[in-house]
């Protein structure tokens, strides 16, 4: 089992969700985060002074999957989240030691 962490642009969420759906992945957890990287923040203006919003809004998706799906899911996310402009985000994959479904107590492969 693996945990995929994807940092994406908020605007791409619908596309990513649809793509995940297609590869048979139906559960995910979304967190609103702020990202900092090569993409430069927007200059905003307030009372004659500019200020930069350095941290840009991103969404973090956490998706637990079976090992064998991993490649397909990562590819699905990468394709659907891509706009080609700086700031598109990253995908990180981590090995999961264990998983449990709280409702039923099922574990590992069954839990996802």
């Amino acid at each position: 089992m693996q945990l995929i962490i994807a940092i994406i642009k908020p605007a791409r969420l619908p596309e990513v969700r649809d793509a995940l759906h297609e590869v048979g992945c139906n559960g995910l957890t979304v967190t609103e985060v702020k990202g900092f990287g090569q993409q430069k923040g927007l200059d905003e203006l307030y009372r004659g002074a500019t200020y930069r919003a350095e941290f840009l809004p991103k969404l973090r998706l956490d998706i637990a999957i079976h090992q064998e799906q991993s490649e397909r899911v990562v590819e699905a996310i990468q394709k659907s989240a891509q706009t080609g402009k700086t700031g598109d985000g990253k995908i990180f994959v981590i090995d999961l030691a264990h998983a449990v479904r709280i409702r039923t107590g099922e574990v590992d492969e069954q839990a996802i």
Partner: protein, 390 residues
């Protein structure tokens, strides 16, 4: 001091207080609209509302009043009080437009149209009836402006929405309607209460003279009927949403109250309280159906302005004969048609020219990011995390 002089003072004061209440409606429209758009377009709608009031007042003061009334001979009250009272009405008409085109109209095009409407289109139209022109002679009756102010504004708004198109994401590819909830319900409610209060000046001041027992009686009637129609408007809308959708949709109830106000505006002095209640009740029901209907017809009006001021404004004009025996359905229809035709056609042409020349719609990316960042430089609630997407 003579009694005439004292009456002059009283009447002037009465008009000034009424006008101040109508001025207050500018705040009401601002809050209502700021509550009903998404947070990313809130600063922008506030800018539009402040600027449209400022522009409307300035242009009407310098040109519009003269265009509409010429140089009338006013003896019962100070003339500047009259100008001030008439001036705040034009801002109301323009406020109707700002709500309907919210979240996608370019600020600059909006302000250019504002100059046109408040400096030219509205005064010309107003001169036909309140300025003593042909509609007045024809016998068209509109006490405080269900048609002349509200439906006129709504006609311009409708033209704008047609030329402009709906907000991105409002209609799904399968044609179904996507709800886009406004960001701040307390603001929308506050806005409605402000409008409700200001309407006492709007309708109450339209008697134009307080001194004399007949005038005082009439104004008292106006107050009680205005309040009654607003109250039953809210009740009418509540009953419908509660029974059809099982939910007490606050924004519909607020629109219902406003619908009651718009409907009674054409003749608030004449009906009995019971009739005023009935008019309000029906108006509240109509507005809910109209909002849902326009939505199905893909006329995207984020705050329901076209339904509240246009559809119900027309309804208000048509029920005048119920309480005013001088008015007839035919004359009312003719008047309504004339006003609507003028405002809709001229506005449509103006919007269309603006669209071709400068564009009237923000870029797709700016629409996604919201007008606050792109046009105003600062978000409405810069510290609060909002769901950018759901």
């Amino acid at each position: 001091m003579t009694i005439t002089e004292l009456a002059f003072s009283l009447d002037t004061f009465y008009l000034l207080m009424s006008a101040a209440l109508v001025m207050w409606m500018a705040a009401g429209f601002s809050m209502l609209e700021a509550g009903l758009v998404r947070s990313k377009n809130t600063t922008e709608i506030l800018v539009k509302n402040v600027m449209l009031y400022a522009i409307a007042c300035t242009l009407y003061l310098l040109f519009g009043y003269h265009l509409m009334y010429g140089t009338p001979d006013i003896t019962t009250h100070a003339k500047p009080a009259d100008i001030f009272f008439q001036m705040v009405f034009v801002a109301t008409a323009m406020s109707i437009v700002s709500g309907a085109v919210a979240e996608r109209m370019k600020l600059s095009s909006f302000l250019i149209f504002c100059v046109l409407l408040t400096g030219v289109l509205y005064p010309i139209q107003g001169s036909w009836s309140w300025g003593g022109g042909f509609l007045n002679e024809f016998g068209f009756s509109d006490f405080a402006g269900s048609g002349i102010v509200h439906m006129a504004g709504a006609a311009a708004a409708l033209a704008a929405v047609i030329v402009l198109g709906p907000r991105k994401g409002k209609y799904r590819s399968d044609g179904s309607v996507q709800a886009i909830p406004g960001a701040n319900m307390p603001l929308a409610t506050l806005g409605t209460f402000i409008l409700w209060m200001g309407w006492f000046g709007f309708n109450g001041g339209s008697q134009l003279q307080l001194s004399g027992a007949g005038n005082a009686e009439a104004i008292a009637n106006v107050f009680i009927n205005t309040n009654a129609a607003a109250a039953t408007g809210a009740i009418g809308a509540f009953l419908i949403v509660r029974f059809v959708w099982k939910k007490a949709d606050l924004t519909m109830i607020l629109n219902g109250a406003l619908a009651g106000l718009v409907a009674i505006t054409a003749a608030p002095d004449a009906p009995t309280p019971a009739l005023a209640c009935l008019i309000g009740l029906v108006a509240g029901a109509i507005v809910v159906l109209s909002i849902v209907g326009l939505d199905r017809a893909k006329i995207d009006d984020p705050v329901g302005a076209i339904s509240v001021h246009g559809v119900v404004g027309l309804f208000g004009l048509l029920v005048v004969p119920l309480s005013n025996s001088d008015a007839t359905l035919v004359k009312q229809l003719a008047g309504a048609g004339t006003i609507f035709g003028w405002m809709f056609v001229t506005s449509f042409v103006a919007w269309w020219i603006l669209k071709v020349v400068t564009g009237i719609r923000v870029s797709e990316e700016d629409e996604y990011r919201g007008g606050d960042i792109s046009d105003c430089g600062v978000e409405a609630y810069p510290e609060f995390i909002t769901h950018k997407q759901d």
